[in-house]
Structure formats: structure tokens, C-alpha cells
Symmetry: C2
Subunit: 337 residues, 2 copies
Amino acid sequence: MAKLSIKDIAQRCNTSITTVSFVLNGRADEKRISRDLKEKILKTIEDTGYKQNQFARGMRTGKTNIIGLIIEDISNVFFSAVARIIEEDAYKRGYKIIYCSTDDNTEKTKELIKLFIEQNLDGYIITPPKGLEDEIQLMINNKIPVVLFDRYFVDLETDYVVVDNFNASKKAVQHLFDSGFENIALVTTSSDQTQMVERLNGYEKTLIKNGKKPKILKIPFNQSAEENIKAISTYLKKNKELDAIFFSTNYLAFKGLEAISQLKLKIPDDLAVVAFDDQDFFRIYNPSISAIGQPVKDISLKLIDILLQKMESDEKPIEKITLSTNLIVRNSSIKVK
Amino acid sequence: MAKLSIKDIAQRCNTSITTVSFVLNGRADEKRISRDLKEKILKTIEDTGYKQNQFARGMRTGKTNIIGLIIEDISNVFFSAVARIIEEDAYKRGYKIIYCSTDDNTEKTKELIKLFIEQNLDGYIITPPKGLEDEIQLMINNKIPVVLFDRYFVDLETDYVVVDNFNASKKAVQHLFDSGFENIALVTTSSDQTQMVERLNGYEKTLIKNGKKPKILKIPFNQSAEENIKAISTYLKKNKELDAIFFSTNYLAFKGLEAISQLKLKIPDDLAVVAFDDQDFFRIYNPSISAIGQPVKDISLKLIDILLQKMESDEKPIEKITLSTNLIVRNSSIKVK
DNA sequence: TAGTTATACTAAAATGATTTAGCAACAAGA
DNA sequence: TCTTGTTGCTAAATCATTTTAGTATAACTA
């Protein structure tokens, strides 16, 4: 079964390539192709199983029907959950997804974006690491549709979908105060990306408002898992007065739970815990862990929606979307008398 | 900055398109292009930032430099871990990855494969749901490089990478017997795919060898999370004599832990537990959960390796690779006196 | 009846690469 | 001097589409 081309279809129907092309692209009525001929062409396509050659098509139209998903780490539950929903929705609308993980590494991401752009993808969903302002701006200048998520650049006019990290953090910390905990530390990354800065600010503001001095442990990004645990463990040993910890990411909460477990501290009696990014694990863990749930589904659908709109019209006004989060209170942050 | 074509490069170098193309494809020496001209062309490409148009290239060569990754569920930790490693390695070797999740749904997967094939990808890595024999065979007949993983079809001559599910299962169950547990049940899916059948067989054989009657709970694939938990919970209540459970997948172990926790049973005193597919969660959970670890890295690298070899030569002999697993014994399966 | 308009189609250019087949110039050998 | 071989390059065909700028015929209008 040799590969069929539009030419073969045209021959079988005693018509021209042009006419077949019009029918193929749904322009039969607009181009006044008779109903009979249109039906005949459609039937021949059906019977022969002819498929358009995507290379030739792309060459003329410049379209690939592929979206680039450039995220921090596909193996992180939060991102893979987003990837799953985006994928589902994209396929329904006729798009495929190429993904890559950045590790939040600036140089690596620049390389990846260059690679993707060579491939002429139709649009991009990106969680940018720091220092990517120029690349993003360049894409915008070249009218390449881009939507950022999870974080954004303050002085860049881009579409983005993020959550209200500041208030999420505030809510979580205030909840700890309301539950009777008084010495609340923050464990976060040493990143200065918007999402992290906002989580930190929310924490600081709430501590000051409650008349307390912020206590912050910043974990560098390039440390190994063991070093993470060690750092948290050392910090806990040095600051015995702490009775609660707020973790700013799910993976730090993981490390923290390991450290707490190693130190044989009881949650919440010795130390209360709240984490950012909810997941099954926190519900099942014993005690169950309170967490801030991001609206993964809404984030994902918004992302695709904005991106597809942008791909259809580059006049679309810029949308900056901030979604609210959901504090899920579980046993790890409720005082037991 | 208008798009540059190979023609522009040729003009700037006072040479022909052909010559530039030869240099571009590393055939300069073979085609006896003089060192001077080659250098000049290379420099011009460098200076102008010219990039080959992938559509035009693909049109002639039929190559996309894209691999299709068709897996059960990108949001499942096992698969996203594999996706992560495959991605890393593929990019290093100049390939990009398009992914999609099948949900192990036969019809959906057929659709997806059709879609992918239209896109002319260079090769495929697939975890096939049942009933996909014909599609896979068709791909092989059409000389499309395919490697299966996680499961395979017994009567299909395909390359695949799987783990030794039978012996993994045997090891896990025998370990429970050796630790002094006597009434061991299996909780598995009602799937008849190779990996599940082998896990079940390993369990059954080991029970019979130890003079016990197998006790198996099969959970249908289309049930909701709540129904899963309910089913396990009901089963446990009905079979009070059980003192250990072996879960055949990570997600069933999750549901099981929830059920066990709801029934206020103590692990391992009331019920010992071993799960398939290790993950961070099991190490951190209290008590830590014994699990069978799949060699995720080896699986992923083998997959890419075989696929790329197949893409280079369709004469490559078929490789059927079975990797061994690693039983990680933790507190959930050790008797406390 | 001549001119206009609508209908139903099509020839050919263009997209940007790869590759086959072959040419011109010169050197070496007979 | 003629033949053969080597070096260094190139013209043109080809890949499968989309789209522009038409054409031919029929129908309608003044």
C-alpha cells in the first residue's frame, strides 16, 4: 500500500489537486465546489484512507498542530498532574504536546526553547526559570503564542496563570496561629522567583501581624536529597522553641517529614506541619498533613484556553490570571489536648 | 529579520544550494567540497543564525526527530519517572518527545496511535492496553520502529523491556512467609495483561508451594477511588484471618493503605503489607512500606537505546529484555514481637 | 444581443529542503 | 596527443501541499 498523495485522490475523482485541497480544508462551499463532487472526493478519501502529509502542509501553512510544554519537572506530581489535564484537553481540540523538563535551570531552558522554536511549534506553555525574560520577550516580539504558569515576570507583558501565593501562604500561617501554635518557621527554597517570593512574603506579613519574628530556613536548589534532610534536621535541633513549620513546596515537605521522622518528633504534638501543594500522600500519611491545594484542573484548562485563543488571534488582549487556593486542614495542624 | 533559507546562504557564499546542503549534512568531505568553501559556508551559517526548515527537511527525508511516548498515565509516578529519564536521554541524542496517556483504554489508544502515525514520528515507545496486537503488528509491518514496555504480547514478535514480574511477586510473597505471616492475600486489578498475570502467577505459585490456598481480590479498572477503597475495606472485614496483603500496583497500595487506616488496623501487627512499584512515599510513610522497586533508570535507558538502534537499522534483531526487580524490605512486613 | 454576473472548477507558482546525474578543468599516463 | 581519472562543484528534479489568479460555461439583465 504505497503512500497516497492528494494527486492520487484528484486523479481518482477526475478533478484537480486544487479542488481536493479545498474540500480537504473545509472550503468547499466558500469555493463553490458542487455538492456531488465534494461527496465524491470525501468518499474517495474515506475509502482509500488517504491522510494529508503533515510536512508538506506545514511547509505551506507554517502550522504543526503541536504545543510545547516546557515545565520544571515532569516527574513532580504537581507538574505531571497539569501535564495530564493539558494533554487531555489539547488532544480533544486537535493538538499534540511535546514536553521537556527544565530543572529550573536557566541555561538548559534557553537551549530547549531554541530547539523547540526550530521545530516551529504553534504555541508554548512555560514555567520559566529566572533570567528568561529576554527569551520570552523575543518570542512575544516574534508573535509566537506563549503562556506562562506557576510563576511570571513582573515587568513583562505576558499572559500567565498563577495562584495567589501570597494569600495562600497567609491563610496557612494564620491557620497555624489560630490553632494555637506560636513559633512558626518557614522552610523554603532560595529561589527569587515570584511564586516563592510571594509565599515568603505571605508568611512574613502574617508573622509580623501576629507580633512574631519570622524564622526562615532557605534550602539551595542544587543540594542533594540527603543534604536537604540534613539541613532541615539541623535547623530543627537548633531551634527547639519551634512548634510549627510551613513548607513552601511539596518536595521540601517530603524532606521535612523525613527529618521529623528521623528526629522522632511527633506531629502535631511536638511540631505542627502545613505544606504547599496537596497530593494523595498527605491525605494518607499518618497523621494526615494539612496542605494548600492548587486548583490543578482550573490552572490547566485556563492555560490551554488562553493559548489556543492566542494562537487563533494575535490581537487577543493579555490575560493575567491569579487563581485562589484551598487550604485543606488535616490532623498535622490541629492541637491535641 | 526575515526567515533565511538555504538559498540565501548559497547566494551570500557565491555557491550553489547543493553545496550548502552537503555541508549542512556533514557530507562535505564525501562530496569533496574544498576546505575553504566549507569554512566559509559554516561561518555564514553561524553569523546569520540560519536554521534548516524542519518541514522542508522532513518532506524529503521523512524524518521528524520526534519520538512518540504512548504510556498508561503520565501522572502516575512510575510512568512520569520513566518519562523524565527517557526525555533527558532523548534530548541529548537530538530527539524530542511527544507524549500521550492511554488510560489503558483500547479504543482511545487506537485513536492516539493513528494520530501519531499521521504525524510521521520516527519511533514509538508504548505501554499497550489489551487488544492492541493488530495495531502494533501493522506498525511493525510498515517498518515503523516500536518498543513496548511494562507489558507485551506473548504471540507478537516485538522488541520490549519489562521486569520479571513473576519472580518479583514470588520474592515478595515468600518474604512475607519467611517473616512469619501465614494468611497472605493478593489485591490486584482484573486486567489480563502480561505484567498483571505474571504478578498473579508468582503469588499463586508461592502460596501453593507454602501449602496455602490463594486468596485474591480483583479490582475492576473502571471503578472510582472511593469504590476501590470500599472494595478493599469490605474484603478485609470479610476475611479476618488475613495477616498480610500484597498489592500488585502502587495505586492499589494507596487505596489499600486508606482502607487499612479507616479500619484502624495496625501495620504490621494486624496486617503486613508489601506493594509493587517503590516510591518516596513508601519510605516516608509510617510505618515504612516494603515494596518491589523497578529499575526505572535501566528500563528507560534500555528503551531509548533499543528504539534508536531500530531507527538506525530495521535489520536490528528483536530484543526481548526482562530486568530483575529489587525487594526493599521495610517495617510494614517485619513482625514485631 | 451584448454585457454582466455567478458557477464550478483548474494551472501553476511557491514553500525549502535533499539528491541524482553530470559538467568543467586539470593532471597523469600511454 | 589522446585517454582516463580526479577534483570541485552545480542544475534541476522531487517531495506534497496551499493558494493566487485565473478560465470556461451558463444564466441573467438591460
